[in-house]
């Protein structure tokens, strides 16, 4: 049976993630409520505004359900804002912003500056034969990665793709460049 992959659709780049996943022969569900989350095998947490998503997670009652699924070992791919929400520690976030603490990293929000500093660049990813084209939009920077965290890619020395158990996080947007290799790898690891 096809795995069911949810894309958290409270706000942000969920449509682009869903488009890539549809090419990879999985069933894709948009997730806005705890009931919808209960039906999926794995989750993608997209980019967008982490402050907005954090509030909507709380107001929709999804926050507790999500924390429970994460404790239960559900596979998650978090990009940009998704990475911020999954990090152990956030610098420059809002005081009331929720951290799910699934990956032992410290991230700084908007560390590259405003949109004018947003960029695209090729990066080398462990296990991929050719470079991956990465799009960084007002991206967070990983300032510290704990000893248990696998750093799978770096850009200018800084970690930009990390894995910890079944949770993978990226500072960039693999859903925007049309290259499905990182999504395919995430699904293969489930």
């Amino acid at each position: 049976m096809k795995p069911r992959v949810g894309v958290l659709a409270l706000q942000g780049g969920f449509a682009a993630h869903a488009a890539i996943l549809h090419r990879l022969d999985v069933r894709v569900d948009e997730i806005r409520t705890a009931e919808q989350l209960a039906a999926v095998d794995a989750l993608v947490m997209p980019g967008g505004e982490s402050t907005t998503m954090s509030m909507l997670l709380e107001r929709s009652g999804l926050l507790e359900a999500l924390a429970e699924r994460l404790d239960g070992g559900m596979g998650v791919l978090g990009t940009c804002a998704g990475m911020i929400l999954l990090a152990a520690e956030v610098v420059d976030g809002r005081a009331d912003q929720h951290s799910l603490g699934m990956v032992d990293i410290t991230v700084r929000r908007n560390a590259y500056g405003t949109q004018i500093e947003s960029f695209e660049a090729d990066i080398d990813v462990d296990g991929l034969e050719s470079p991956f084209h990465a799009v960084f939009i007002r991206a967070p920077v990983v300032e510290r990665a704990g000893p248990e965290v696998e750093v799978l890619a770096r850009h200018e020395e800084r970690p930009v793709l990390c894995r910890s158990g079944r949770v993978t996080v990226a500072a960039f947007h693999p859903e925007l460049s049309g290259d499905g290799r990182l999504h395919a790898r995430f699904l293969a690891d489930l």
């Binding site: 706000q11 780049g13 949109q115 004018i116 695209e120 090729d122 007002r138 947007h173």
Partner: protein
């Protein structure tokens, strides 16, 4: 220059080691991240904080909300840079600001201030009665208004990376935005169903739109950039309506800070844009919000801002 050429230029830059900024992918990428969100007009840093607290994905920094621009009259210009910087310092979410139609001088200043998006906006007094800004010449991305698909494609041809409807600003009346969204999405569906290339040539002629963009819509069935709604949103139900009509996010101007309880109205509209297809949730969040902004019947207006732009 067509959007297609620009996209391939961005692709070529991809092979280099130096990171490429200001590419079409990067500019449209931020619009992609704002989807499912609410962009709120604010006139002070304090309002910007209220907007961020309520869950706004971005704020539009301007001196007066459209309802007051309407009441005030006179020439309406770009905001004072000091005001824009005050808003930038107050929040961590992206900050947008408006330049007058055709006023590339104002846009250059906004880019120098590091705003995240420039709105070439009909809400301000136009500076050029023929030309819009050459938006390809900028690193900062632009959003432009459109009443129909032809206008949207002309703006995309000029480099806009996000299109919004041009609902009559400052009226609290959703009727104009609904007309624009239905017109844009209806023509997209009709182009996607076109029989042959000859019909596409005719569409480009009728719409006064660049042919490559019409051909792109025929191939993909969607607008080449995100389509947001602006103008006249005053309640969570309005937000739900425009999202169901095909808008991918919402700009709310006077609707928040002209209501009786701005923080409550702001967070209710944020939730409405997320849960726009769930009437049960919408009923709950629409309850007890206080007075929405007072509305205006668009037929009685002497200034129709949506008619600005060419």
């Amino acid at each position: 220059m067509s959007a297609n050429t620009e996209t391939s230029a961005a692709g070529a830059a991809a092979g280099q080691d130096r990171p490429a900024t200001g590419t079409t992918l990067v500019k449209r990428g931020l619009a992609e991240m704002l989807k499912g969100g609410v962009i709120m007009d604010v006139v002070t840093p304090e309002q910007a904080r209220i907007a961020e607290d309520a869950g706004a994905v971005s704020v539009m920094a301007l001196e007066r909300v459209p309802a007051d621009i309407r009441a005030h009259g006179g020439v309406s210009r770009m905001s004072d840079p000091e005001m824009v910087q005050g808003v930038q310092a107050a929040v961590s979410i992206p900050v947008m600001a408006k330049a007058r139609i055709g006023h590339f001088g104002e846009a250059q200043i906004l880019q120098a201030l590091g705003v995240d998006y420039v709105d070439e906006s009909e809400v301000l007094t136009p500076a050029d009665e023929v030309h819009h800004i050459d938006k390809w010449a900028f690193t900062v991305p632009f959003v432009c208004g459109a009443t129909n698909l032809g206008e949207a494609l002309r703006r995309i041809g000029e480099g806009a990376c996000m299109i919004r409807s041009k609902g009559e600003a400052g009226t609290g009346n959703i009727v104009e935005a609904v007309r624009h969204l239905r017109s844009i999405t209806g023509d997209i569906r009709r182009i996607a169903a076109a029989g042959d290339e000859a019909e596409l040539f005719e569409w480009a002629k009728q719409l006064r739109a660049p042919l490559p963009l019409v051909q792109e819509i025929s191939d993909t069935g969607v607008l080449p950039v995100p389509l947001f709604c602006a103008g006249g949103i005053a309640t969570p139900a309005d937000a739900s309506l425009v999202m169901q009509l095909g808008a991918e996010a919402a700009f709310v101007g006077s609707g928040i800070f002209k209501s009786s309880n701005p923080p409550k109205m702001a967070s209710a509209i944020v939730e409405a844009v997320t849960h726009y297809r769930d009437p049960g949730i919408l009923a709950k969040i629409s309850s007890g919000l206080g007075e929405a902004m007072a509305g205006l019947e668009t037929a009685g207006l002497t200034t129709k801002m949506a008619e600005r732009g060419w």
